[in-house]
Symmetry: C2
Subunit: 177 residues, 2 copies
C-alpha cells in the first residue's frame, strides 16, 4: 500500500475520479458498447436487470440536457451522454429501492470502465428531483414506467486528478454500532 493507503493493485478503482472537462476527440460506438457491457455486468436484485440506457449524441439534445441538469454544463462540450434509467415494471417486486440500487451499481461499473478505457466521465443526478425527471422524460420520450436516474457525461479527459479515497474510519463499526 502506498503512503495514501491506496493499494496499487486496485489502482483502477481508486483512480476513477469525476472528470468534468473534456478535450477534442470522439468516442466510438465500439467503446460505448464496452461501457454498456460493463454496466450490465453489475449485479441486480434477483437478476431483474431493470436498467435501461439512452445514448445521446445529438448536439441539440446534449445542449438541452446541459442547460437543465444541475452542474451539467459540460454536456455542451461532451461528445456524448448516457442517460441511465430504470423500468419500474422490470425491477424486482416493482420496488423503486431496487431500481435505484441496481441502476447505481450499473452506473458505477460504467464510470469505472470509462476510467479503465482512459475516458473521462461524470455522474449527473436526475432522481429524485421531479423537475429533472419530468424534463428528461419529455426530452427523451421515456415511457411512463421508465424513471431516469442519472446522466453520465463522457469525453476525452482534459483534466487529471490523483487517485484517492474519502475513507473515514469514523464511518466503520465493529460487530455493533
Amino acid at each position: 500500500m502506498n503512503p495514501e493507503g491506496i493499494p496499487e493493485q486496485l489502482g483502477w478503482i481508486f483512480g476513477r475520479r469525476s472528470v468534468r472537462a473534456y478535450g477534442p476527440g470522439a468516442i466510438g460506438d465500439d467503446q460505448v458498447e464496452i461501457l454498456l457491457r460493463a454496466a450490465m455486468a453489475a449485479p441486480s436484485a434477483v437478476a431483474k436487470d431493470p436498467w435501461r440506457f439512452v445514448v445521446v449524441r445529438d448536439r441539440s439534445l446534449l445542449a438541452r440536457l446541459a442547460g437543465n441538469l444541475s452542474n451539467g454544463s459540460m454536456l455542451d462540450q461532451a461528445p456524448l451522454g448516457i442517460v441511465v434509467a430504470g423500468d419500474l415494471h422490470a425491477a424486482h417486486d416493482r420496488q423503486l429501492s431496487y431500481l435505484l440500487q441496481d441502476c447505481a451499481a450499473a452506473i458505477e461499473n460504467l464510470l469505472l470502465s470509462a476510467h479503465g478505457l482512459g475516458l473521462g466521465a461524470c455522474w449527473l443526478g436526475i432522481h429524485p428531483r421531479q423537475h429533472r425527471i419530468d424534463f428528461v422524460t419529455n426530452l427523451l420520450c421515456l415511457p411512463e414506467a421508465v424513471i431516469p436516474v442519472a446522466c453520465i457525461a463522457l469525453g476525452q479527459p482534459a483534466e487529471t486528478k490523483e487517485p484517492r479515497s474519502r475513507f473515514n474510519p469514523a464511518w466503520v463499526h465493529r460487530d455493533r454500532w
Copy 2:
C-alpha cells in the same frame, strides 16, 4: 475483445461474480480496510458520503444474519459480513434516493475490490424489506436515522465462475426512446 464480447483489459469488472460458497481461510483487518477504502472511493451526491459500515465477525451475529436474510445462509460459513447502511441525516438533502444510490455505488466498489483481492463476495439485500431492516437495526443497534441497505458476505472463494455480462442490446436506445 474476446468472443464473448468481454474486453480483456477490463477483466476485473467482468470477472466479478456473486460467490456464495466459501472455503477455510480468514480475511485480515488489513484486507477489510482495503475493501472499505475502495467502497469510500465511490462518488456520492454532493460528496455527502452518507455510507456507514458495520464489519461483523462475531459468529453468533453472523448466524443470526444467516437465519434472517433471504438467501443469506452462506453467512454461517463466511469469516465476515459487512453491513452497508446509510445515514439519512448525512445524505444530500436527506433524500432516501441519494442514500440508496450512494450506498449502492460504494457496495459495487466493495464487491469489485473483493474480486480484485481474490476474495469471494455476495450482495444480500436488506432495503426495502421492512422486516429485514427492523431485524438488522435491532441486531446491530443502529441509530434511528441509519438505514441498513445490504449485507455483503465475504470469504475465500470455494466456487469459480466465468466472466460475463448480461448485456442486452434491447435495453439500449439512441438519442430518444
